[in-house]
Amino acid sequence: MRQSRISEILAEIAGKPINIGTNESLFESGLLDSFGLTDLVTKLEAEYGIRIPDGDLNPRKFESIDKIASYVDDRV
């Protein structure tokens, strides 16, 4: 469920459907670039009512849908 909503958010940012596996790299697939990453952080904060601290601003934490979902699960 969480993965599904995160895929929708990523699709909004990428401007196209997210058709990769939930454990595949969003960066390697070209679906998320540096600037999309900043949008993702902002949208995750708004969607889930969380504050992502500067210490967590590491691309590796947001590399795949599974990693993003896991991160959000830990914060909500």
């Binding site: 540096s34 600037f35 990453l37 900043t38 500067d54 601003l57």
Partner: protein
Amino acid sequence: MAWLRGFGKYLPERVVGNDEIAALLEAEPAWIREMSGIETRRYARPDETVAMMAAEAGRQALEASGVAASELGLILVSSGSSEQRFPGPASEVQHLLGAPQAIAMDVPMASAGALFAMAQAALWAPRAGKVLVVAAERMSPIAMTPPLEKGTAMLFGDGAGACVVDREQGFAHIIDWELGSDGTAASELRLEFGEPIHMNGRMVIMHAARKVPAAITTLLTRHSVAAPAVRVFLMHQANANLLAKIAQATGVGVESFYSNIAHYGNTSSASMLIAASEWQGPWHGPIVFAAFGAGFHWGAMLVEGAQSNA
């Protein structure tokens, strides 16, 4: 607090377009423009040093300010690309300008160096009187050191910017600043002697897009200034897309952020003062300087322009 009295700049003659860079990087010129907003950058001659470019920009700032080199009490030179470990370029700039009475100090910081040097100048001005701040960078030999990483190599250009900070008079009053440093990210953007530049672009963008708007907002809130009331944001010209993100997060349109990156690329610490030198003004009302760079170091400075709103 001190005043801004005049700006100057120096840009090398050689214009390097995206076609030339793209051929070296096996990339498309349109890709460079799309990823960075850059169309051309300037490359220094092999015999043009950081200190030489700094001195040229410094002379122009002194002339614009109506200040003689002999009146300077302090010269601060920011650079992350000086050619040797020591001495830094500041003492040579002092010599080239003919200001033996002035103390000369280096600020060895890439990208955010000019902003930090301006804050230092404001603190020193009560004692030194007239302070020349110069930021000069010769990034092209660094950017083009193999192995070339196209996302990094296409960004950089060479140049210098300068300003005179005066204890007593000027066209804009330095009000306050908000600076920050985060050493946990020191390895994410670094340049070791003899090595190619290392830049974790995703990390840099993530942090810059968050930290710079936060610094601007904290500073403006402290002085009850609304972001849309700021006449212009003069920011380190890192990447046109980053400027747009920071403008959005600050709550203003991208047109509020002056940009000349299309012409000069990313000239690291020099870019903010080159931008200030080129912005047409008037220097009236609240104006914000901002920067982010290796360290990480970042921040914003608020000045109040005293020119008429013509």
